[in-house]
């Protein structure tokens, strides 16, 4: 069952949600309750048969649990080796192993008939699993508790499409017994988000799809494609932001506070600003774990003469990976590289402008920036949609 997509899912979810006040009464044992709820919801979500090979049928839930145990074993083994010392090769191997299931799922269909050994959410779980490995390498995590690890990795409200939470942030919630006052604040935040979710996903996104996106889907004229581009951009935003509101709202009820994923992305004043507003948890993950880590290593090792070259390669690397992570199709890769190009251009122009002062500071300039950024972003979504190639 796809989370937050049908009313049946919301109906099942009510069983978990309705027990939150009871869990609050026994708050010293709420972690046990969370683990039980997680397992129950995983069974509901993943109780579907898959046929990875023609004659073999397997329940998806076993793939999910198998994946989780594998990632746990990798993290556990790595943390044991890490205690004895820091080895670059061991670290890279751990990252490669943690990444391996996703890589197999994404690339295997390109080479063989074997299909569908993945499950909905594997790409998001990979972010969580790798976050742990990075933090172990940096000694920010020194011990991995088994229940805590699995609660983090398999936390069900955000399993299918994020937001991408971090281990250290998650564990601060996990180790906290919330008070009734905090429970009421969480309830307030949850209700607000869930209703925003209904408005965005089931009203606005659906209306846009029915009356704007679908009518232009078959058009091959330039005007039709432009209209489709804006329709798709707004549809994507309301659908995904709506979903994210549900995911964060439900998490709040359970006492976990994943980061919000959107902050009015269409009023961004630059591409850089846009990535502080769109799919924030994903872009921050790439910023912290790919961009900063790569640039840090490059600067420390004096790989390039110019700091800016390191920064630009960091953009290409992180945005390129972001593109491939969406899928191996050409349009996803192009989408990543397009944004890398925009970030580089943005950086280059703003540095050029600090010397030449062409672009001003007043209100008309700000509006022009927003307009320009909005259109560049929408063109990016057109690439992302796969409509062009």
């Amino acid at each position: 069952m796809v989370p937050y997509a049908s009313f049946l899912y919301f109906g099942v979810l009510l069983y978990v949600v309705a027990t939150t006040p009871v869990m609050q009464l026994f708050r010293r044992t709420w972690r046990v309750w969370l683990l039980v709820a997680t397992l129950a919801m995983l069974v509901v979500q993943y109780w579907t048969a898959e046929k990875p090979w023609p004659n073999i049928s397997v329940q998806t839930i076993w793939l999910v649990l198998g994946y989780a145990v594998f990632e746990w074993a990798v993290a556990m083994a790595f943390s044991l080796v890490r205690k004895r010392g820091k080895h670059r090769l061991v670290f890279y191997s751990a990252v490669a192993l943690g990444l391996a299931p996703l890589v197999v799922v994404k690339f295997l269909p390109l080479f063989s008939q074997v299909d569908l050994i993945g499950f909905l959410g594997i790409s998001y779980l990979t972010f969580r699993a790798l976050d742990v490995i990075f933090c172990v390498q940096d000694k920010l995590i020194t011990s991995l508790s088994v229940p805590q690890y699995f609660a983090f990795l398999l936390f069900f409200p955000t399993i299918s499409s994020g937001p991408v939470d971090r281990y250290r942030r998650f564990t601060s919630d996990w180790n906290h017994n919330r008070t009734w006052k905090e429970f009421r604040t969480d309830l307030d935040g949850a209700l607000h988000r869930v209703f925003m979710g209904f408005l965005y996903k089931f009203i606005l996104a659906m209306l846009i799809k029915q009356y704007w996106l679908d009518p232009w889907a078959g058009s091959s004229q330039a005007w039709g494609i432009i209209s489709y581009m804006y329709a798709y951009s707004f549809y994507l935003f309301f659908d995904f932001a709506g979903y994210s509101n549900f995911a964060v709202g439900v998490s709040y009820l359970l006492g976990i506070h994943p980061p919000d994923n959107f902050r009015m992305p269409f009023i961004a004043r630059s591409i850089r600003d846009f990535w502080d507003r769109w799919h924030i948890s994903l872009s921050y993950w790439f910023r912290d774990h790919v961009y900063m880590r790569f640039v840090f290593t490059a600067l420390k090792g004096r790989w390039f003469k110019s700091t800016h070259v390191a920064g630009y390669l960091g953009f290409v690397l992180s945005m390129g990976l972001m593109g491939v992570w969406h899928g191996t199709q050409v349009h996803f890769v192009a989408y990543g590289l397009y944004h890398a190009g925009l970030l580089i251009g943005n950086d280059w122009l703003s540095r050029w402008n600090t010397q030449h002062h062409i672009w001003g500071q007043g209100r008309p300039w700000k509006l022009a920036q927003i307009f320009l950024t909005f259109n560049l972003v929408c063109f990016g979504f057109l690439i992302f949609s796969g409509r062009l190639f």
Binding site: F134, C135, Q137, D138, K139, L140, R272, R287, D288, H289, Y291, M292, R293, V295, F296, L299, K300, T307, H308, A310, G311, G314
Partner: protein
């Protein structure tokens, strides 16, 4: 006292002023470096590399969040706690 005879705060501010390209960081220790675009991700990494080399300590990018290094005062406090001065 560091090897050069100047304080940790001075050595930190020298490096910070160079990367943020402004002497304002010395005058206002509570300046919000990210809000005023004096530091971004690239600047922060430059700062991490420069400070780790200056003080001979190991820092890692995922260890320090933007809130931890939001102002000159916070960066100095961090360096003082790490450099053991």
């Amino acid at each position: 006292m560091g090897a050069t005879g100047t304080s940790t705060a001075d050595r930190t501010l020298n490096i910070l002023a160079g990367i943020a390209r402004t002497e304002e960081v010395r005058r206002n220790l509570d300046l919000d470096l990210f809000k005023f675009h004096l530091l971004d991700s690239l600047g922060m990494v430059q700062l991490m590399v420069a400070l780790s080399e200056e003080f001979g300590i190991e820092v890692s990018p995922s260890e320090i969040g933007r809130e931890d290094w939001a102002t000159p005062r916070k960066i100095i406090a961090y360096m003082e706690s790490r450099a053991g001065v």
